[in-house]
Symmetry: C2
């Protein structure tokens, strides 16, 4: 690119879709320019309301997110949608395919959609999701919907970094409720029984209520359990109303600040973990790594000793004396 970083940043602040798409690609692939750009954009961000939407495959998340976005668009605010897909460990790619796409949901130009894979190229926990949020936020997206496909730990991590989390459940998937109990169930601020025109919707609702009666939140929010039929749009306005209620609750409640502090602490630590590793890998020559692998394979050295040595080399810098 012939533009300077500040020029690039300016284009993003002006919501230029191509500049945004390039920024996201740069961040996703871990380019140094992407990180420098983020440093500029971060200071212009922080105004978006980030809504996490999670639930098992087939729960109707995409349809619900689309309907919710359309409803919010009626008020004219630019909206960002990030769809996070589980990654195949073999292909390394996202299931939904096209990861570079950034397009309008409809002819409407105020909606930016981005698919992302759960894992970065170095196996981190979707570290780039928060960075993409920062880009969309700086670009003026007042609402950012982060849709996570799946029920795993990664999705929980992503959801925990949203300002509010909605969990979608559907009737007739009793086993999933079981699975969710491993932790996903407890993280939601709003529960949505989607496809609620199907038999069993009441049972799911009651199960969630029973779970909520037993669990204890750190704040005074009382998570609502809503019913929707995303395909027809039924209940979407209730969901929007609940999201707005939670937003003003958050602005009043001091404990929400504590949640944000925790989110940034964990984000900062995750970033430290990832960048440390990337920096160390950058310093490590391929041949040196392969020699270590061969040593371990032949049981000449154990992996812990090898790792300790690599860390100590890293701290000393590339063959530079000094440090500790």
């Amino acid at each position: 690119m012939s533009e300077s970083l500040p020029e690039w940043a300016e284009k993003i602040l002006a919501r230029d879709p191509r500049a945004m798409a390039r920024a996201i690609s740069a961040v996703e692939s871990g380019e140094p320019a992407g990180i420098e750009l983020l440093k500029l954009l971060f200071l212009k961000s922080g105004r978006a309301y980030v809504v996490g939407v999670t639930g098992s495959p087939g729960a109707g998340k995409s349809t619900l997110v689309e309907k919710l976005a359309a409803q919010y668009r009626a008020s004219g605010v630019p909206i960002g949608i990030i769809a996070v897909d589980p990654t195949s460990p073999f292909s390394g790619g996202a299931i939904l395919g096209d990861r570079i796409r950034m397009q309008a949901l409809s002819p409407d130009e105020g909606v930016y959609i981005r698919s992302m894979a759960t894992r970065g190229h170095l196996g981190g926990l979707a570290p780039a999701v928060q960075d993409v949020v920062t880009i969309l936020d700086a670009a003026g997206c007042a609402l950012i919907l982060v849709e996570t496909v799946g029920v795993g730990q990664d999705e929980v991590e992503i959801a925990r970094h949203a300002d509010v989390t909605a969990l979608l459940l559907v009737p007739g998937m009793g086993d999933d409720v079981q699975t969710f109990k491993a932790g996903v169930m407890e993280i939601a601020d709003i529960y949505v029984v989607n496809k609620s025109d199907r038999p069993g919707a009441e049972r799911v609702e009651q199960e969630v209520m029973a779970m909520l009666a037993m669990s204890q939140r750190r704040d005074d929010w009382n998570p609502p359990v809503l019913k929707t039929v995303a395909t027809t749009g039924e209940g979407i306005s209730d969901l929007r109303e609940a999201l707005e209620r939670f937003r003003s609750f958050g602005e009043r409640d001091a404990r929400r600040l504590a949640r944000r502090r925790e989110q940034w602490r964990s984000r900062l630590l995750e970033l430290l973990r990832q960048r440390l590793f990337e920096t160390a890998l950058g310093d490590l020559e391929d041949a040196a790594l392969e020699a270590c692998v061969e040593d371990v394979l032949a049981q000449r050295r154990d992996p812990h000793t090898v790792a300790d040595k690599l860390i100590s080399d890293f701290r000393k810098g590339k063959g530079v004396a000094g440090g500790r």
Copy 2:
């Protein structure tokens, strides 16, 4: 403990269950003594056949693993079982509860069972599973069954580090096959349709066959699709036979060495990532971290700049001049 590290290691080599249990606890909680112990034990390990058994909740993994262990025990070899549970992000504990238990499967003293949580205390990807394998291996367990509860990325990672991976499927959970396609499906060396006395077993078998017909392996192994009824023991001897067939296939095939090399490379990198982070955290004072969090929260500094500064401080050592 009043014993020295070499004494502790000797007890483990002699298969003392209490010494083994203490070692596993030390490794799991990241105690330095545990790591020093591993360094000694690693050089005595490498003989076990590590079998990963994965599948969705309710697929009957525990029962199958128990029956398989009983069958292998008939030949007199000591056996280790590691049951990896998804962790609740809230409690931090394993669902199955008792993580410290190490007991005989039956009055038989040759079977060692251990439950572990997927995530370590620092959020790593079950880094300790491989370390527990090393302990059981050094203790002479000729067969180690690693049972992962769940279908997420973590379970895939764990399965990839086994010598052989068996994937359990059950009839009547069509949606799960869909979920598995995100990558878990492809990693197995042996497919097991458990509860095959239920309706739909043929359909699952055919789906797997169809998937296999489309996928391409790096080696010449032709993954079998077996049917079992774990509760009655039906098909367990076929499974054992397939496991043994895969083992001798692996000993003949040069590409299996390439797989082991890849496993150790990825294990070494994971260890480097984790230990780097732990070392950096150990150096970082709580107050300094909190000051960073406050800076980011107040948008005085962006998280990437903060992380870069922390890394540079880490490389210089705790206030020690020099390095780079």
